[in-house]
Symmetry: none
Subunit: 251 residues, 2 copies
């Protein structure tokens, strides 16, 4: 395991600052979502509440990661990165639930999407974990490949199956959903890259700092910024559903 | 780097108190804004929520700065001032978003202002940071000068471009917007002065104490007091929009 006490003071500081940045982004994404519930119509509030829950869970885990990293550097204890996996097993399925919820599709369509997306996303995280904690190349590659299968299946559902349901969405929504999917693809795509750092021979202090920055920024985009796109979709759909509401909101 | 253990106990206490003062101002500015959402009409609530988010983010960072300063004095660890930059990169663009949001301008006008203001403000903070962490005069001056370009551009947009949109605002609002802009100019103007302290030969304990007071008071004015002016504008506009609402609010 990498010993964080090898980091220079500047590297330590840089990691601490990005962890704090992720933490504050998550807390106030939740805060903003909850304070903005009244800015969308009732039927879209579930997706905002789920988004606030996701960033709230992430804020908790960044708090733990921040403290664990600080303590590991000061006292030589082990830096606990398993918090990230505990976080993902909870938040990744929820992100897919909030995505489907905000579209307010027909009940049978939502259900059919979720019974495939949620188990696939849980499987993706679970299969990645044994590969993350090993330093040996072969098991890392095998678990990584296994974890990629549900990931590709999720992309198939989101880009192909979900696409069929977008035709009847109001103006502007299809474009925002495209933004959601690309954010998801770009940010989720970072995780397997960081996962493969050791296989690519990228190890030591700099790889550690780079991985912490990559994970933190990917998490901010995949959860907090993702939540803001969800909010924007919920607003657009609220305005399209009810012209009175749009007028009161100054739209 | 300045070692905070050089401070006398009186200086230490004075800094700790001003950091606590900033912290409590930020927390209760957020609290007041959220509790007052119902005191303005729907279309102005987004700007109040954004203002509460800004002071909330600032409260988090003052909490971290307070703890870091206390720990540095007690245990000789490094005082981490980078929290200020992490704060500004998030809050300064948001302050401009809340300013434009409260005016409830036509959608195309708001959009055109924000696509210029938000990137310019982020650029201003990012260009300032390399100059902040160096102690050498030349790079400090160069980064400072580069950071001033987007700052002047922001002032141009706020004082010239935004001015054109103020003619149709209800009575009293133009005066309040003038108050907003002057608060912004006066408080943002302090940051480059503190930035240039080392260049002006103003260093050591007293410069450190003075800088902490300056940053803290500038932050309180630029975020908490600024938010109260936003609230006042939202009230005035709510009354002008709807005489029934004005009457119910005892205006």
């Amino acid at each position: 395991m990498f010993d964080v006490q090898q980091l220079t003071f500047g590297q330590y500081d840089a990691v601490l600052n990005v962890l704090s940045f992720a933490l504050v982004s998550m807390i106030f994404a939740s805060f903003f979502m909850l304070a903005s519930l009244g800015r969308v119509q009732q039927r879209y509030r579930s997706s905002l509440v789920i988004s606030a829950t996701v960033t709230g869970i992430a804020a908790y885990h960044y708090w733990r990661i921040f403290d664990s990293f600080k303590e590991a550097y000061a006292e030589g204890t082990q830096f606990n990165e398993a918090y990230r996996y505990v976080d993902w097993i909870l938040t990744v399925p929820l992100l897919l639930v909030e995505t489907v919820a905000v579209l307010a599709l027909a009940k049978s369509v939502s259900r059919s999407l979720l019974v495939r997306l949620v188990p696939a996303s849980a499987l993706m995280i679970i299969l990645g974990y044994p590969g993350e904690i090993t330093n040996e190349v072969l098991p890392k590659m095998v678990w990584g490949a296994l974890s990629t299968i549900p990931f590709i299946y999720i992309l198939y559902i989101l880009f192909v199956e979900l696409g069929k349901s977008l035709a009847r969405q109001p103006e502007g929504v299809a474009k925002e959903v495209q933004g959601l999917r690309l954010t998801l693809l770009a940010t989720w795509g970072f995780y397997p890259i960081a996962y493969l750092f050791p296989v690519m021979g990228f190890e030591g202090e700099l790889a550690f700092v780079f991985r912490q920055y990559g994970y933190s920024i990917a998490d901010i985009l995949a959860k907090a910024v993702f939540g803001l796109i969800i909010y924007k979709i919920a607003r657009l759909k609220s305005f399209a559903d009810d012209p009175e509401f749009a007028k009161a909101e100054g739209h």
